[in-house]
């Protein structure tokens, strides 16, 4: 099972507060490593609130927890807090303005039995491939 979504990133004051305490904290990971999905998309995937999903595209992939949207219906549209997790999916080959597409990330979402990606793993990916 898989759904294709456009991910729009946003700011969250609670995540920001957690980041100020520690970028390496459990609170920061919980508030960052999640994707808000429309209930119709969740039903299509067979996932419930809090279950993990793999979000991937040709840039990268992360395992994050699902949060059920409380907004009006928006199938195909997903939201992630701006964080190192969402940035794994953002293209860096950008248009002439050189502004990355943080607000319109095309990605596939599928159920995952894996645990949520840790920030240490994200860091290792940068270091391993940056070396």
């Amino acid at each position: 099972m898989q759904v294709v979504v456009t991910v729009v990133t946003f700011r969250d004051i609670f995540q920001n507060e957690a980041e100020k305490k520690s970028r390496y904290s459990e609170d920061y990971r919980k508030l960052s490593a999640q994707i808000t999905l429309d209930k119709q998309d969740m039903a299509g995937l067979g996932v419930k609130d809090g279950q993990n999903v793999l979000v991937k595209n040709d840039v990268g992939s992360v395992v994050v927890a699902v949060k059920a949207s409380e907004d009006d219906s928006h199938p195909g549209l997903a939201f992630m807090v701006n964080s190192p997790w969402s940035n794994q999916l953002v293209r860096d080959d950008v248009c002439e303005t050189n502004i990355p597409g943080f607000k319109g990330i095309s990605a596939q979402v599928s159920p995952s039995g894996e645990s949520v990606t840790q920030i240490s793993e994200l860091f290792q990916r940068m270091k391993a491939q940056g070396a």
């Binding site: 004051i13 520690s22 970028r23 502004i99 607000k103 940068m126 070396a131």
Partner: protein
């Protein structure tokens, strides 16, 4: 009274009592500001070279070696440094022949350039409080990004020309892809699809011209046109959502604002995130003619997308990052490039960037441990004093030493 450097509102009315290791009493801090002040006590760093703890002097000397030997050094960050540090940083860039860029390069830069060069009319937040009867938050969610904007200036307070309650005298409109926290409490919310802002602007211009709008809910667009026409003093607060949606079509916003000003008064105040991004943009503009993305290579001043952090990260051989965590905030590919070069991080606290840096130099937190000045999101200069004693060097002092040794 303390000044909060947690966002570009630079709130000057903070009252707090600090005890060892904690804030014991506080007044007027928002949740974001409280987190910022608490950061004084968490994840502080020590000077390091290649992961080994060293003295500050050794770390600075190593940073000088790296920058001196680099052919294409990049200096990046700046939005969380005081004006005094930014001034030294620009001079350091010239001395090194470096590329210099700040966080505006991938957020509000193209909009800020229009404001700072007088191509978009703007006003102060005090003008907003005193005169504005319509505030439009477009692709912006101040309840999460600038938590006290609505209570201090844009919606709830009474002002010299706005003496009645906000329900009677102020309109608060939100245009956004997402029904944000701000959208839930404002009087009118208009949903746009991702990337649909250009069409939305075209529709607003249509209704202002008395035409039937081509896009969106026609009835609601006409209602919006009526609100805008009846406005005496309006302010648009564009957030990164609008900037990202428009990108090279940012001229459309100029067209809309010009159209609105044929009818009434409308100003634009960009929703700058970091507390002194506007300060850096103004300093660099005054110095080089450009607000960001500048190269001083070979003694020539050039400006363009090739000098943006996105492009420069791929070609630089050394980078000095100050008060910023690009490894967290930039796309994976750019973060990966930066992680692979000789990296110098100047920061008060631990981050992915300091973890990846070859040289780490701890700095004092501005507004808490170091004094200085900054430019608020609306262009007003704010001075601040340290509220706790610290032996840590400020960004300005660290940069001055690097510049002197080079």
């Amino acid at each position: 009274m303390a000044v909060c450097t947690g966002c570009s509102l630079l709130c000057e009315d903070i009252e707090l009592t600090l005890k060892t290791g904690a804030i014991s009493q506080v007044k007027n801090l928002c949740r974001k500001g409280h987190g910022h002040f608490q950061a004084l006590f968490t994840e502080r760093i020590v000077p390091k070279i290649d992961g080994q703890e060293v003295s500050v002097d050794q770390a600075i000397t190593k940073a000088v070696d790296i920058l001196r030997n680099a052919k294409h050094p990049l200096l990046y960050g700046w939005s969380n440094s005081a004006l005094e540090a930014q001034r030294v940083g620009i001079d350091l860039g010239k001395k090194l022949g470096a590329t210099i860029d700040d966080t505006s390069s991938f957020c509000q830069g193209i909009l800020m350039e229009l404001v700072l060069t007088g191509k978009l009319p703007t006003c102060t937040l005090d003008d907003v409080r005193n005169f504005a009867d319509t505030s439009v938050f477009w692709g912006a969610d101040p309840s999460n990004s600038h938590p006290r904007l609505l209570s201090r200036f844009a919606y709830y307070p009474r002002g010299s020309k706005r003496q009645k309650s906000y329900e009677e005298e102020r309109n608060c409109l939100v245009v956004d892809v997402r029904k944000s926290a701000t959208a839930k409490l404002c009087s009118n919310y208009f949903r746009v699809p991702p990337g649909g802002d250009a069409d939305f602007i075209a529709s607003v211009i249509d209704v202002l011209d008395g035409k039937i709008p081509k896009y969106g809910d026609k009835k609601r667009m006409i209602e919006l046109g009526t609100i805008l026409r009846k406005t005496e003093y309006g302010v648009i607060f564009p957030g990164v959502g609008l900037v990202y949606a428009l990108q090279d079509k940012i001229e459309l916003l100029k067209t809309l604002v010009a159209k609105l000003n044929e009818i009434t008064t409308f100003k634009v105040v960009p929703m700058v995130e970091h507390y002194n991004m506007r300060g850096f943009n103004q300093l660099l503009l005054d110095d080089s003619g450009s607000i960001n993305r500048v190269s001083f290579h070979s003694g020539q001043v050039t400006h363009g997308p090739e000098n943006s952090i996105m492009a420069a990260a791929k070609i630089c051989d050394a980078a000095l990052v100050i008060g910023s965590d690009p490894l967290s905030s930039l796309p994976f590919g750019t973060a990966k490039s930066l992680a692979g070069v000789s990296l110098i991080a100047i920061d008060p606290r631990r981050s992915l960037t300091t973890d990846a840096a070859q040289v780490v130099i701890p700095s004092a937190m501005y507004g808490l441990e170091a004094g200085g000045s900054a430019i608020r999101m609306d262009g007003v200069r704010i001075e601040f004093e340290p509220i706790v004693k610290s032996d840590l060097l400020s960004d300005e002092q660290i940069l001055a030493r690097i510049k002197e040794e080079i």
